[in-house]
C-alpha cells in the first residue's frame, strides 16, 4: 500500500457508504420477503379445493347462481391463465393495491391503515412494559444472590408459559368482575388499556428476562465491572452506566421474535378485550376465509417484521460499540 495515504480514519467514520449498503441490503431483502409471501399465498389459494368465485360470493353456503359465478369470474379475471392472474396480482400489489375485501366490501389497504394505530399503541406499550419488567427482574436477581436467581428463574418459566388467552381471562375475572378496577372490554380510555397491555407484556417479559438475566450476570462477573466497582462506582451507577448495555443486547437480538410474540398475542388480546386492531381483523378474515384481507394482513405483518428486525439490528449497533466498525 502507498505510504502517503491520507489520514483515513476521520473520513471513514463519516463515509455514508456502509450505512447506504446496509439500507439497500435490508430493502432488497424486505422486498424479496414480501414477494415470497404474496406468491405463497397466491398459489395456496389455487391449491385449496373449492371455487374461488364461490368464495368471493360468500362460500359454498351462498348458493350463488351460475350467472353470478360467471360474472365474478370475468370481473376478477379468474377465467384467465394462472400465470396471467399471478402477474396481474403482483402488478396490483406493487402499486399498493391490496384489492377489496370479500366480506366487508371495502378497500383492504384503507381498512388496514385504519386498524394499524390501535395495534401499534398496544404493542408499543406492551414492549415498554415487558422491557421494564425484564430489566427490573434481572437487576433484582443479580442483587439478591442464588435464591433470588432461582425465584426469578421460576417466575420467568411461569410467565413465558402462560397462554395469553388464559392470562387475559384470569385478569378479567380478578380485576374486572371481582374488583371492578378496570373495564373488561377496551373502552379507548387509558384505563381500558391496562389489562390488554399487561396480558401482552407478561409472556414477552418472561422470555426477555431469561436472556437479560444471563447476560447481566455474565457482565457483572467481567473484569470491567470489577474495575468500575474499584473506582467507587455505586451499584446503581454500575448498572446504568456499564451493565445495562450488556444486559440489553441479547434481548435486542430477539426483537424479531418479540415482535412475532406481540403480534400473535395481539390477535388473542384484541379478540378477548374486543379491541379494534390488526389482530382482530386477521381473525375475522381467517374465520370468514376472506382471501384479500388475509393476504393484506400477512403482507403488512411481513413488512412490519422486516422493519422491526432492521430496527433491532440498528439498536444493537447503537448499544454495542464493537459492532459499529464495519
Amino acid at each position: 500500500m502507498t505510504v502517503d495515504a491520507p489520514p483515513a480514519p476521520a473520513r471513514a467514520r463519516r463515509d455514508p457508504r456502509p450505512a447506504l449498503r446496509w439500507l439497500v441490503g435490508r430493502a432488497v431483502g424486505g422486498v424479496l420477503v414480501l414477494w415470497a409471501v404474496a406468491t405463497l399465498i397466491f398459489f395456496a389459494v389455487r391449491l385449496v379445493p373449492g371455487d374461488p368465485a364461490e368464495a368471493i360470493l360468500g362460500g359454498p353456503g351462498s348458493q350463488a347462481s351460475d350467472e353470478a359465478l360467471a360474472l365474478v369470474r370475468e370481473q376478477y379475471g379468474l377465467d384467465r391463465p394462472l400465470v396471467v392472474q399471478y402477474l396481474a396480482q403482483l402488478g396490483r400489489l406493487a402499486t399498493g393495491d391490496l384489492g377489496s375485501s370479500y366480506s366487508l366490501r371495502v378497500d383492504v389497504a384503507d381498512l388496514l391503515l385504519a386498524q394499524l394505530p390501535g395495534t401499534l399503541v398496544l404493542a408499543a406499550a406492551a414492549l415498554v412494559v415487558a422491557w421494564a419488567l425484564a430489566l427490573a427482574g434481572a437487576w433484582w436477581a443479580s442483587r439478591s444472590g442464588p435464591v433470588g436467581a432461582r425465584v426469578s428463574s421460576g417466575l420467568e418459566v411461569l410467565a413465558s408459559s402462560l397462554p395469553q388467552f388464559w392470562l387475559a381471562s384470569v385478569l378479567i375475572v380478578v380485576f374486572s368482575t371481582e374488583l371492578g378496577w378496570f373495564p373488561p372490554v377496551s373502552t379507548g380510555t387509558p384505563l381500558g388499556l391496562v389489562l390488554p397491555v399487561v396480558t401482552l407484556a407478561v409472556p414477552v417479559a418472561g422470555f426477555l428476562g431469561q436472556v437479560t438475566r444471563d447476560s447481566l450476570l455474565e457482565a457483572s462477573a467481567a473484569p470491567f465491572a470489577l474495575s468500575a466497582r474499584a473506582r467507587g462506582e455505586t451499584p446503581g451507577g454500575l448498572f446504568a452506566r456499564h451493565l445495562l448495555r450488556h444486559a440489553a443486547l441479547p434481548g435486542l437480538a430477539l426483537s424479531g421474535w418479540a415482535f412475532g410474540s406481540l403480534l400473535s398475542g395481539a390477535v388473542v388480546v384484541e379478540s378477548v378485550f374486543a379491541r379494534p386492531g390488526l389482530g382482530r381483523t386477521l381473525l375475522q378474515a381467517v374465520t370468514l376465509r376472506d382471501v384479500p384481507l388475509v393476504t393484506g394482513v400477512a403482507l403488512a405483518s411481513a413488512l412490519a417484521y422486516v422493519v422491526v428486525v432492521a430496527l433491532g439490528d440498528l439498536a444493537e449497533r447503537l448499544v454495542d460499540p464493537r459492532r459499529r466498525t464495519p
Partner: protein, 301 residues
C-alpha cells in the same frame, strides 16, 4: 469462569435453602435433578396417566348432561365446577388430556419432521446444486419467519377452514421453520467435522455418512427442543381453539372447553380458568423438563 450455583436455571420456585447451593466437592458429571424438575416429571407422568386411562382419575362420563347442575361453582362433588350442561369440568379436563396432548404431539412431530427434511436438504447437497438448495431453503425459512408465531398458523387455517385436524396441521407448519433453522445449522456443522471427513476418506457411501454420522448428531438437539415444543404446541393449539378455530365445543378437549367457557367468563369463570390451568401446567412442566435436558446435554459435553 466461576460456576455460580443454581444459575443456568430452568428450575425455580420454592427450593429448600442449601439443597445444591453448596459447592460440590468434585465436578458432578450428572447433576441431580432439582425438586422442581422432579415435580415437573411427576406432573407429566400424571398427564400421561390421564391421557391413557382417564377413567382412573375421573370415573364419571364426560358427555353425560345434568341440566339441574348447570353452572355450579367448584365444590366437593365437582372440584372444577360444572359447565352450561351440568357436566363436571374435572371429568372433562381429565378426559380431554388425551386429545389435547395428542394434538400437541402430532403438531410437534409434523413440525420437527418438516424441519428435519428442510434442514437436511439444505445442509447436505454438494456443489452448485447444494448451494442453490441451501440458499433456497434459507430464504424460505426467512420468509416463514416473517409470519411469526400464530400468524402462519392463522394463514394456514384461512385456507383449510377450522377444526381439530386443521389446527394440528397449522401449528405443525408454524413450528417447522424454527426446527428447520436449527437442523440446518447443525447439519452444516457436523458435515465439516473431522468425523465425517474421516468417514468420507474411508470410502463410506454418502447414504451411510448421512444415516450413521450426520443425522444422529444433527437430531439430538432437535429431540431435546421437541420436549419444549410439545408444551408450546399445546398452548398454540388451545389458543386457536379459544379463538374458535380448533376443535368444536361438544368434544372433551381443553381448547374446545375454553371456546365454550369464553361466553360465560363473567358468570362462570371456572369454565375458562380450569381447562386453561391444564394448558399452563402442561406448558410449564414441558418447559422445565426441556430446559433441564438442554442443560444436561451442554454440561455432559
Amino acid at each position: 469462569m466461576t460456576v455460580l450455583p443454581g444459575l443456568p436455571g430452568g428450575a425455580g420456585g420454592p427450593v429448600a435453602p442449601g439443597t445444591d447451593l453448596a459447592p460440590a466437592p468434585r465436578p458432578a458429571r450428572r447433576p441431580r435433578p432439582s425438586p422442581v424438575e422432579v415435580a415437573a416429571a411427576a406432573l407429566l407422568g400424571l398427564l400421561v396417566l390421564a391421557a391413557v386411562a382417564p377413567g382412573l382419575l375421573a370415573p364419571a362420563d364426560p358427555l353425560a348432561v345434568a341440566p339441574a347442575d348447570a353452572f355450579s361453582p367448584p365444590s366437593l362433588a365437582h372440584p372444577f365446577g360444572t359447565d352450561e350442561s351440568g357436566r363436571g369440568l374435572w371429568t372433562r379436563v381429565v378426559h380431554g388430556t388425551g386429545a389435547s396432548l395428542l394434538i400437541g404431539l402430532l403438531a410437534t412431530l409434523l413440525g420437527t419432521g418438516l424441519g428435519v427434511v428442510l434442514g437436511v436438504a439444505s445442509g447436505l447437497g454438494r456443489g452448485v446444486a447444494g448451494r442453490v438448495a441451501d440458499a433456497g431453503v434459507g430464504r424460505l425459512i426467512e420468509v416463514l419467519f416473517a409470519l411469526p408465531g400464530l400468524l402462519l398458523a392463522l394463514v394456514v387455517i384461512a385456507f383449510t377452514g377450522p377444526g381439530a385436524l386443521p389446527a394440528t396441521l397449522a401449528v405443525g407448519l408454524a413450528t417447522a421453520p424454527g426446527y428447520a433453522r436449527i437442523v440446518r445449522t447443525q447439519v452444516a456443522t457436523v458435515r465439516r467435522s473431522a468425523m465425517v471427513e474421516q468417514a468420507v476418506v474411508l470410502g463410506r457411501s454418502p447414504a451411510t455418512v448421512l444415516l450413521r454420522h450426520v443425522l444422529p448428531n444433527a437430531l439430538a438437539p432437535v429431540a431435546v427442543l421437541a420436549t419444549l415444543g410439545v408444551g408450546q404446541a399445546v398452548v398454540w393449539a388451545s389458543s386457536l381453539s379459544y379463538l374458535g378455530l380448533g376443535s368444536p365445543p361438544p368434544a372433551p378437549e381443553w381448547g374446545a372447553m375454553l371456546a365454550a367457557g369464553r361466553t360465560y367468563l363473567g358468570s362462570a369463570w371456572w369454565m375458562t380458568v380450569f381447562p386453561g390451568l391444564a394448558v399452563v401446567v402442561t406448558a410449564a412442566a414441558s418447559t422445565v423438563l426441556g430446559r433441564a435436558l438442554t442443560r444436561r446435554r451442554t454440561e455432559v459435553r
